[in-house]
């Protein structure tokens, strides 16, 4: 079904560089990494300072130990944070953001700013949409 799409894209100029619409474009790959529930929150915290595991768990509202551990390992694998273990008893582990991670955080800043100023408008649009929908549903029920 899509083979034709791919080959026709070989010599295209879709305005943006590269094939931005393939399901495996870099943007989607990135969203697969950070589009989850906790990654960005963790990166934001680590962007300020090195933080210990237990402190992260305290400061991130509602995260489970499992998800914190899992997300940190993921971020470490992606080269966005580093893990530093000190062999005390019990062991002490802290995490730092990498230069690559810090760069990403910078690239996300405009998005974060947009979210903080514009999400209220999105919420308005959603309410309006739902209101119209419920009216339409009501008519339909006649």
């Amino acid at each position: 079904m899509q083979d034709g799409t791919f080959s026709s894209l070989g010599h295209l100029q879709e305005t943006r560089r590269g094939n931005a619409y393939a399901r495996d474009c870099p943007t989607r790959q990135l969203l697969d990494l950070i589009g989850d529930k906790w990654s960005v929150l963790i990166l934001l915290l680590l962007g300020e300072e090195e933080v210990r595991f237990s402190r992260l768990k305290q400061r991130i509202d509602g995260i489970s130990q499992k998800m914190l551990s899992q997300t940190l390992k993921s971020l470490e694998r992606d080269g966005l944070v580093t893990r530093h273990a000190v062999a005390t008893v019990p062991v002490t582990v802290s995490y730092r953001i990498t230069p690559l991670g810090r760069e990403l955080l910078g690239a996300l800043q405009m998005m974060i700013d947009w979210a903080e100023t514009r999400m209220p408008y999105v919420a308005d649009a959603q309410r309006e949409f739902d209101r119209r929908l419920s009216i339409a549903d009501h008519r339909e029920a006649l």
Copy 2:
């Protein structure tokens, strides 16, 4: 468990404005909207021009009719795109990005640029991480 977090954040200065670490911060709300599999790809296409449903389906590699319909309705509900139906037979429907959606696209541009230039480094880091892990696993098996 997290109530203390919230109240203590009342008079904080966590570097970034607002409580960026709550699970319902605007940034996470935004990621809930566009962190899915298709939203950004659709927005990018609509950012160039008004596009018909069938054309979107052709151009977005691998999307199902259900997911296209569902994602478009979601974006419409969020106020990021608008739907325009023409009562031909059969009906003709096209979608346009809204000013709010275009603004979001602008805010995403740095992230998109970062993804296109830096995702290779992420891929490198992942390979390196997996390589070391397999070595460790191998030792462990002795």
